[in-house]
């Protein structure tokens, strides 16, 4: 029987992937990879602000990640400067966060826990937050699935069918901020985007429909979580990066030709 902390870690990772799998598929389909990155980087600023104001860390990261995602979405709607604006915003937010943390007197902050996650120290309270957040994201995506998908396939077709692509984009932005807030404890700010993108990208090779790709992303992500935790225990490596490394290994396997379900 594995230790309690290990079971909690596994449950946290599984909860994360339930939301990050389908959302990651949208991030890949819509080429929002960099947006996931930017949102995650900004979360460090959220950590600093939360610690300074003594609000829950998850709340602070959620709010700042959302603000960041909205700023990025607004800028990327204006075309050619979006890429540069993203770079400016993402790294400025990360740097500001790191600087802000250093100003926090009397608070001993283990910053690497927020950058790389500390899944092995997940508490029961964290689990409630993670699963609650993941369930919310999953419900949001399931509710609007066909509309989100139509807007992703072609904005004109969506508009002609009476949908508002901007609203669907906002739904994804919201979901992204929530997932970042949920995931920061597990894999950390620097690796959140990895768990969104890598399992979804690996899933492409096995799927013929969007739904199948989302389901595969969840499944492969969970395998990565369990594999990463096992490796972390066996080789005494940091848990968050080990999970991402496992996901990367799965991605490499998915590249083996002959598996493509086209």
């Amino acid at each position: 029987m594995p230790d309690d902390f290990l079971i909690r870690a596994a449950l946290a990772g599984i909860g994360l992937m339930l939301a990050a799998g389908p959302l990651g598929a949208f991030v890949v389909w819509r080429r929002m990879a960099y947006m996931g990155d930017a949102t995650a980087h900004a979360a460090v600023l959220g950590v600093a602000l939360a610690l300074a104001t003594e609000l829950p860390v998850a709340f602070g990261t959620g709010v700042v990640a959302l603000a960041m995602a909205l700023a990025v979405a607004g800028l990327s709607g204006r075309g050619r400067t979006a890429d540069t604006a993203l770079g400016v915003l993402a790294h400025s937010a990360l740097a500001l966060g790191l600087v802000a943390v250093s100003f926090l007197k009397g608070v001993r902050v283990d910053l690497s826990a927020y950058l790389f996650g500390d899944v092995l120290s997940v508490t029961r309270g964290d689990l409630v937050w993670i699963w609650g957040g993941a369930a919310t994201v999953l419900a949001l995506l399931a509710w609007r699935w066909n509309r989100l998908l139509t807007a992703t396939v072609n904005e004109e077709l969506a508009q002609a069918a009476g949908l508002d692509p901007r609203r669907e984009k906002l739904v994804l932005t919201l979901a992204l901020a929530l997932v970042v807030a949920v995931a920061i404890k597990i894999v950390g700010a620097l690796l959140v985007a990895a768990m969104l993108i890598i399992p979804a990208a690996s899933a492409r090779a096995f799927a013929r429909t969007p739904e199948a790709m989302a389901a595969w992303a969840v499944g492969l992500g969970i395998v990565a979580v369990l594999g990463g935790l096992w490796a972390s225990l066996g080789f005494d490596t940091p848990a968050g990066p080990s999970i991402v490394a496992a996901a990367a290994a799965i991605f490499c396997l998915s590249l083996i030709p002959g598996r493509s379900a086209r």
Binding site: W29, E156, L157, A161, A207, R208
Partner: protein
Amino acid sequence: MTLIEARGLAVRHGALSVLRDVDIAVEAGEIVTILGPNGSGKSTLVRALIGLEPAAAGAVVRRPGLRIGYVPQRLQIDPVLPLTVRRFLSLPRRVGDAEAAAALERTGVGGLGARQMSVLSGGQQQRVLLARALLGRPEILILDEPTQGLDQIGEAAFYRLLEEVRQESGAAVLMVSHDLHVVMSTSDRVICLNGHVCCEGTPKVVSAAPEYRALFGHGTGGALALYRHEHDHDHDHGEGPHHHHHHHDHAHEVEDA
């Protein structure tokens, strides 16, 4: 019965005036083609009619509850998005398997249901897009240069299909083209557009109208020579008899006029 109309419609892109004073109307069951050179605002007009472009002045009036079937110019489906034709037909409104299969069969791409959208040829994709539009039981089909990227045989076949669909379903058709002679036999009415409506009428009337000539230059000696050259060229290479005949007719008309 008027299905959709533009009244004094103007559309601007920033400071640039793309359309001004556009008055057009589509009646139930008719096939109307919007014709114009590149940059004449054809696509913008179609987009405004569907509600994708805001009107800077004037208005678009749709019959309340009008069911529009929209076929966009070209759909770029990223191969990273796995999407079968069958799944695509259920976006955003889910349709039954039998219904989906019948629509694909009708547009001549039956059996493509399991194919990935990203690997379809241009012609197959247009037919799938048309099938999807038909699933909404449209009263009007709106198509933006539906045959772009098709060869002339594919183009002719697609227009025949549109005419059949119109006959069966009674749906009106509003489409955009840049080439009069390919839509000549299919259209009931042609609207010549160049930022505003230049001329309007049956294909025969429009092809003889001075405004049309001015726009496309077919009345000038140079263009006529070009036309004859095209005609000869087609003839030399022995393309389909229908096509040859068509060119011949047209050149003949221009000479007569």
